[in-house]
Structures are given as C-alpha cells and as structure tokens.
Amino acid sequence: DVWNKTWYPKAEDHVNTEKTWYVVDASDKILGRLASTIAIHIRGKNLATYTPSVDMGAFVIVVNAEKVAVSGKKRTQKLYRRHSGRPGGMTVETFDQLQQRIPERIIEHAVRGMLPKGRLGRDLFTHLKVYTGADHPHQAQKPIDLPIRDKRIQKQT
C-alpha cells in the first residue's frame, strides 16, 4: 500500500526529456558558492523527491564561464594539478593560466568535486553544460534562471 512503503521513483518519474533546465550567468560570481548551488540542483537535493540512487536532478547551463570570480589572491595562487600517470608527469597551473587556456574547465572542475564520485556521479556531471560567452545552443529547452539563495555569491566590488 502507498502509505507504508517509502516511495521509489519509477522509470517515468525521471525521464531526461521532462527535466527542468536552468541557466546561470557566472560573471562576477564566487566560484565555490556558484559550484555548490549548481551541484545541489544537478543532484536533485532541493527536491522533495530526492533519491540517492536515481538521477532526479535538473540540467544546468553556465554561460560567461570565463568571467567567474574568486576572492583573495586565488587568481594567481590557486593551483590546478593534473598527473599523466607517468613518473614526473605532474603539471601544475595557476587559476589565471587555466582561465586563459580552457576557461570552462575551472567551473567543471569545481562542480565535479562537489558531485558524488561513482557511476551515477559521472552521469550527473554530463548534465552540466558550461559555455564561455553569453549564449548557449539550448534555446529549445527553454531554460529558466537558476534560483540562487546564497547572499554572498556576488563578488563585492
């Protein structure tokens, strides 16, 4: 009976075609706070129908990714490391250098660190779409503005 068994979503409760699409402009937003709200919406933790084993979240589009902001001296001091697997194969870049090379990777790296790591987490990560510049090719999905509740997300100038 419905009231004594905890609800578990059926296949038609999480079809990708009927999920919400959100769009957020990253210019002058603090990186970590933005990534946190994005990760919450992608994972579906803001919905009462949240289920940890099922992808109930929404899609999020990030535009103006190259204008994301960080506080303090992170622009020159925050390091992004990657390792090729071979000895001596560690490459270290600063935030600034990475932003000039591949600006999308900054937001992707931040959000990936906040999503669960595992098969489901990797699938969730594909629901994040990051673009430099102000437009995106997803007009057909009619994305709405991402509701942000963090008051300190906008960089104070």
């Binding site: 009231w3 009462a48 506080s71 104070q156």
Partner: protein, 125 residues
C-alpha cells in the same frame, strides 16, 4: 546437502564465487554477514532518506528541517518522518499547512545577528 544450499545462495555472484565451492562458501558466509548487518542498517538509511526529503520539502517553504521538527514537537504533532516525507512528495498542500503550523509554533532563530558586513579593503579578503 550443504553444497547445494551454498550454490543456491551464491546465485548472481561474480566469477568463480558462483561456481566453485571453496570460494562460494566464503562469499556466501560474507553475504549472510552483510545481510545481517544491513537489516539493521536499512532502518537507519531509510530514516536518513526521509529526513533528507523532508528537509528539501520544507526548504522550498523557507524553513529548515531542524526548525520544522522543533515546531512540530512544540505543537505535539506526532507524525513520523516516513509519513512526513510521503506527505512532502505527494500531498503538497497538506505539507504546506504543516509547515505553517510549525512556523507559528516556532518561528526560527531570526534573532541571530547577521554576519558583519565587510567594508573597505576587508572586502578583498
């Protein structure tokens, strides 16, 4: 025959654990231990899932889980978390009524002083 029972319980296991008795016996023992432990863990996990769902449902209405439950306790509403999570998913209007009841009983700690505003050069930190 014990081997037959072991293989029956080893259905769906990976590799030799479903076919070779010495490996299957170990894996089946482990599986039975895990299922004993998890019958107790399931109760904890379910409650934690209900709490997460209730939290999400109340935050939509601007109240967090802790303040919501405190308000319900004050009003002596003894609905358990399972039922509250089902209400938050399937009966949104009734759930909103509950949130309002809880909010009148315990308006939350709005008396907190907000974080001090940074001025001047402190903004950069």
């Amino acid at each position: 025959m014990n081997k037959k029972e072991v293989f029956k319980l080893a259905k769906g296991f990976r590799g030799r654990a479903k076919n070779c008795i010495r490996i299957a016996r170990e894996r089946v023992e482990k599986a039975l231990q895990y299922s004993y432990r998890d019958r107790r863990n399931k109760k904890r996990d379910m409650r934690s899932l209900w709490i997460e769902r209730i939290n999400a449902g109340t935050r939509v209405h601007g109240v967090n889980y802790g303040n919501f439950m405190h308000g319900l306790v004050k009003e002596n509403i003894q609905l358990n978390r399972k039922v509250l999570s089902e209400l938050s998913m399937h009966e949104p209007y009734s759930f909103k009524a509950l949130v309002d009841v809880s909010r009148t009983a315990f308006p939350g700690n709005k008396n907190m002083t907000p974080a001090p505003k940074k001025e001047g050069l402190a903004i950069l930190v």
